[in-house]
Amino acid sequence: MPLTKNNYLSLLTTVGLLLLVSSCQLGPEVIHDLSDESYEVLDQDSSSVTFPENFKDEILVISYIYTNCPDICPTLSAKLGNVEEELGNDSEVHFVEITFDPRRDTPSVLKKYMETFGHNPDRFTMITGDSTTVDSLLNDLDIVAELADGESLDENYVINHTNRISIMDKQGRVRYEYPGTAVPEEHLIEDIESLR
C-alpha cells in the first residue's frame, strides 16, 4: 500500500507519542541496582541495618564521608543538612551518610559527627560496620577510597576518595549521581521530586 501524506503524518505522530510516553515512563536510567542486594551494617546507635532493604519505600540521598576529613566531607554533610531542611518534614525522603573509614568511624563517632551538624535522627542515618561489608557496599556503588600518598594506617591518616552524592529510588536503585561539592542544592531537590 502506498504511503499517502496523511498516513505518513499519522505514523509520525504515533511514533512521536510512543517515544514521549516511553521516555516519561523510563525516567533517569538506573546507574547502580542494589534492589536485590543486602548489606548488614550498623547505624550511629549501633543498631543493625540491612541496606538498602530497611529504607524501602523511601528516596535516599546518600553521601560518602569520613569524619576525619576536614574539608570536603563536612561540605557534603552540610549540603545534605540544608536539603533536608529545605524539604521540611518529608517522610518520603531519607538521608544516609556512609563512611569509608569504618576503622575509625565507629557508631559513637558517627553519632557525634551527626549531632555536630544538627542532623535530624529521624531523617538521617549514618552507616558503618565491618570493613569487608562496608567496602563491598562502597565498591558496588563505585565509590573509591584509598590512603593518600605516604599515609599509613598507623598515623592520623587522610584518605583520597570519590566526591559524590547519589540519589537512590524507592526500589534501591541509584538513579542520580553528582560531584558532591559542586552540585547545587536546588538541583538535588528537583531530582528528588522526579522520583516521587
Binding site: 569524619t67 576525619n68 576529613c69 576536614p70 574539608d71 570536603i72 563536612p74 561540605t75 552540610a78 563517632v109 557525634k112 555536630t116 551538624f117 544538627g118 573509591v144 593518600a148 592520623n156 587522610v158 584518605i159 583520597n160 576518595h161 570519590t162 566526591n163 560531584p179 561539592t181
Partner: protein, 155 residues
Amino acid sequence: MIRFWTIFFGLLIISACSGRKSDSQNPSDRELTGQIELEDQWARPGSAGGNSAGYLTIFNGTRQDQVIDGLQTDQANTTELHESFEENGQSGMRPTPNMTIRSGDSLVLEPGSFHIMFMDIENNWDTGDSIQVILTFSETGSVQTTLPIKNFPDD
C-alpha cells in the same frame, strides 16, 4: 591582512606574558594599608585526636610580596596550609607550603579549596569555642588571630 594577524598574535603573546606570577588569588583594588589584614575567620568542629580545617581571607596590604612561612596553634599537633583538589574523580588534600601573596592580593581560604589543616587536635572543638592561630609571614613576621568554631561561615 597579514599585518592585522601579526599585530593580533603579538598582542596576545604580550598579554599572556605580562601576567604576574603569584600563588594568591583575587587581586583587588583595595588600598595598601601597610598591614596584613585577616578576615572571615572560622574553623570547623572536631574531635580530640582528629582533624579539622580553618578558613579566612588574608589580604596583603603591605608593599612587599609575602610568603606564608608558618602556621601554628597550641590546639593541634600539626598545622599546615593545605589545598583540596580533585583529580580523576578523586578528591584529596595536599600541603601547599610557602604560598606567596603578592602585594595588594588576597588569598581566600574556603571550603573545597585552600584551608588551614589542623591534624591531631588536642581537645574537642565544639561550636561556640574558638582557637588561636599564629600566621608567620616572610616580611612582616607573625600575626595572631582567633578562629571561632562554627558549622557554617555565616553562623
